[in-house]
Symmetry: C2
């Protein structure tokens, strides 16, 4: 019951020169399921990543950061589903390193040139032998046209694959941006992980790419929430092969802004697709906070509304239960908020103003908006000029079913 989640046609998913992908069934947790994906990156590819801030971060996340910091050029990614290799202590670190060693040996590269990713159950040992035994199959399958296969290969309990692909002209060159993501919330029940991989044949100098990755994550993957549960394994990777011939090497490069915007739009689309496929979601909500005094307070208010179980269940019920939204704004932690300056819109309908209900508001107008599958909640704080936007979904019976019944 994903909300307006569109899958591009196969011929609208463009390969990225310099990136090959192999997908196989390694039987890590279940048989007959694509669960092992390998990316091979051409020499010269710049890679940057952004990772979860959860202190219980998974072993592969730690290894990724070590390898990215090693100075060795990254030449491969390896992604397994079925097991998150999180909460696994030192044996988990060993398993993640074994995975890199095995792939490096097969590809004749240094193990530090490999980034490992895992997604699946937490607190259970990674069956690393099955993973390693599957690697030759994944490598034998490497092809530039395998993005759709990879989008399936990284799914856990996602109901649909998530793919973004576009071509644009920049500085007279045709540039391709293609990416995939997975996750059905910030965390999946025992299948914890949000993963995003974005590839482009534009060239981007690696120090610049690192900075761009953080900035792009902040307007895409860091602006979605399903249940507020931050995963132990969240990872977002950008790969820039440079094979288009375009090289952007500084923020003053004439194509820098356009390229960054295009990559950010791709990442935002992949992030929003996760919300559209969120557990039990029936509505896709955009929470936009305007006239905030700072980014921090705008996000406090937006997340307070986006995380409120009472707001989320009201949206599930298509009930314009506005008091719940006002209450969530009120307890967001903006201590000096003057509520008489706050205005609230559902879509284009002004519902609250001057600390109370808009005198012209009609319940029927709110009802009309609430029945839509995509809803804009707009909150003006009357304090400044900062705007921030967060994307979320409603909270349904199916969310409880999925999360209460999952392991059993």
């Amino acid at each position: 019951m994903a909300v307006n989640l569109h899958i591009p046609a196969d011929d609208a998913v463009f390969p990225v020169a310099g990136i090959e992908i192999g997908v196989t069934e390694a039987g890590i947790r279940k048989a007959d399921r694509r669960d092992l994906t390998v990316f091979r990156l051409a020499p010269g590819t710049a890679v940057a990543g952004v990772f979860t801030r959860n202190r219980f971060r998974a072993a592969p996340v730690t290894v990724c950061e070590q390898h990215l910091a090693s100075g060795q050029p990254i030449r491969a990614l390896v992604i397994n589903t079925g097991n998150a290799n999180a909460g696994t202590g030192e044996p988990g670190m060993h398993a993640a390193r074994q995975t890199c060693d095995a792939l490096a040996a097969l590809m004749q590269i240094d193990p530090r040139q490999v980034l490992p990713f895992s997604t699946g159950v937490i607190l259970e040992p990674l069956p690393v032998e099955r993973l390693v035994a599957g690697l030759p199959g994944a490598i034998g399958n490497l092809s530039p046209g395998n993005w759709v296969g990879a989008a399936h290969g990284i799914m856990t309990t996602d109901t649909l694959p998530k793919i973004h692909s576009q071509r644009l002209s920049l500085g007279g060159r045709q540039i391709t941006i293609t990416g995939i993501s997975k996750g059905a919330g910030m965390i999946r029940p025992n299948m914890a992980t949000m993963l995003g991989y974005l590839g482009t044949d534009a060239g981007i100098a690696e120090p610049l790419l690192r900075q761009m990755a953080v900035e792009i994550a902040d307007v895409s993957f860091n602006r979605i929430t399903v249940d507020g549960d931050t995963s132990t394994n969240d990872s977002f990777i950008i790969m820039a092969t440079g094979q288009s011939g375009l090289l952007v090497d500084s923020v003053t490069h004439p194509q820098y802004q356009a390229l960054k915007s295009a990559l950010a739009a791709a990442a935002a689309d992949l992030a929003q697709k996760i919300v559209r496929d969120a557990e039990g979601a029936t509505k896709f909500m955009t929470i936009r906070v305007e006239q905030a005094g700072s980014v921090e307070e705008a996000l406090k208010v937006a997340y307070s509304v986006a995380h409120s179980p009472l707001v989320k269940t009201a949206f599930f019920a298509s009930d314009p239960n506005l008091g719940r939204i006002l209450a969530a704004i009120g307890y967001a932690g903006v201590d000096d908020l003057d509520v008489t300056g706050v205005r609230l819109w559902l879509g284009d309908v002004l519902v609250a103003t001057q600390g109370g209900r808009n005198p012209d508001y009609q319940e029927a107008d709110g009802q009309r908006v609430m029945k839509q599958a995509e809803i804009l909640v707009r909150i003006a704080l009357g304090r400044g000029s900062v705007t921030e936007t967060v994307y979320t979904c409603d909270f349904s019976h199916e969310y409880v079913s999925i999360n209460a019944d999952y392991r059993s």
Copy 2:
């Protein structure tokens, strides 16, 4: 389906000398329902209150604070259900003042000697005429034995009344403590409010009582959560009539600690009763964080676990899904948390240690604990010596039903 919520027998609910209570049906929202309660306090009664920090605080909360600050001795409380008088702007303030004026005229006191409280739907005008018309009936009904009636009279969608009553001997005198509360979470769907009223015939000097009220709220009503939604109307009031002859006038008084402990235990019981009757609750969970470096970080971790929808649905399913608890600890915002020092127990079962699963842990042991109706989640952070405890409940299908279907 309240969890072990016990109602004392009528003869175990002790009147408090100096406090009379009247309850009536004013038809504020629905007919044939006790919805208006008046407390009359004998001269000499000290009163203190603690109120919601929600910025969209209800009009009666603002009026309460003004009247408590006026220096006038409080002689009456008036509580209506059916309408929260919140998000009602200036007309709401006027309605709250009208209520005080009317009761003051009937009781021949100053309006500033009245504290008003409202609970019910948000964003709708308070039908103040019906409330005022009901006041003579409530006053005609005043009696010291009406605590049980009041516990019913302040209920909205609570399934059971919440009453605490005890007698103890302090300094050679018999002291009575009796109180009531309402709420089924920090907020109720459009019926927002947690209310708590605690009366004692001990005498407590008012400046001291104000300080005690804050400290007692911090270990009782400020340590419960159902869904993280802080109401616009939360109010907690202590009334000390002094009619027992005992007067505690400073923190060095020999009975100060014992009296404060008894009042705190009564408040904690009333607060926990709210969790036991929380929307859709099937489990009562105590989240105890030990070995924290500060109160702030202990509470961050405790609330992170207590608010996680994934943790709460796992408890609903009686599924010892430990990765969800570790993940919630990890994202609690303790930035320098060393997870290898964290230990986690379900009841008496050590489930995680040194950043991973306890090698001796058996799923059957976790399962045994999870099937109980009352569960202790104990988290040792290994950072210091602070302990904090928060009380919460699970997250069930019925929670979604109640909150999605309520207004319709």
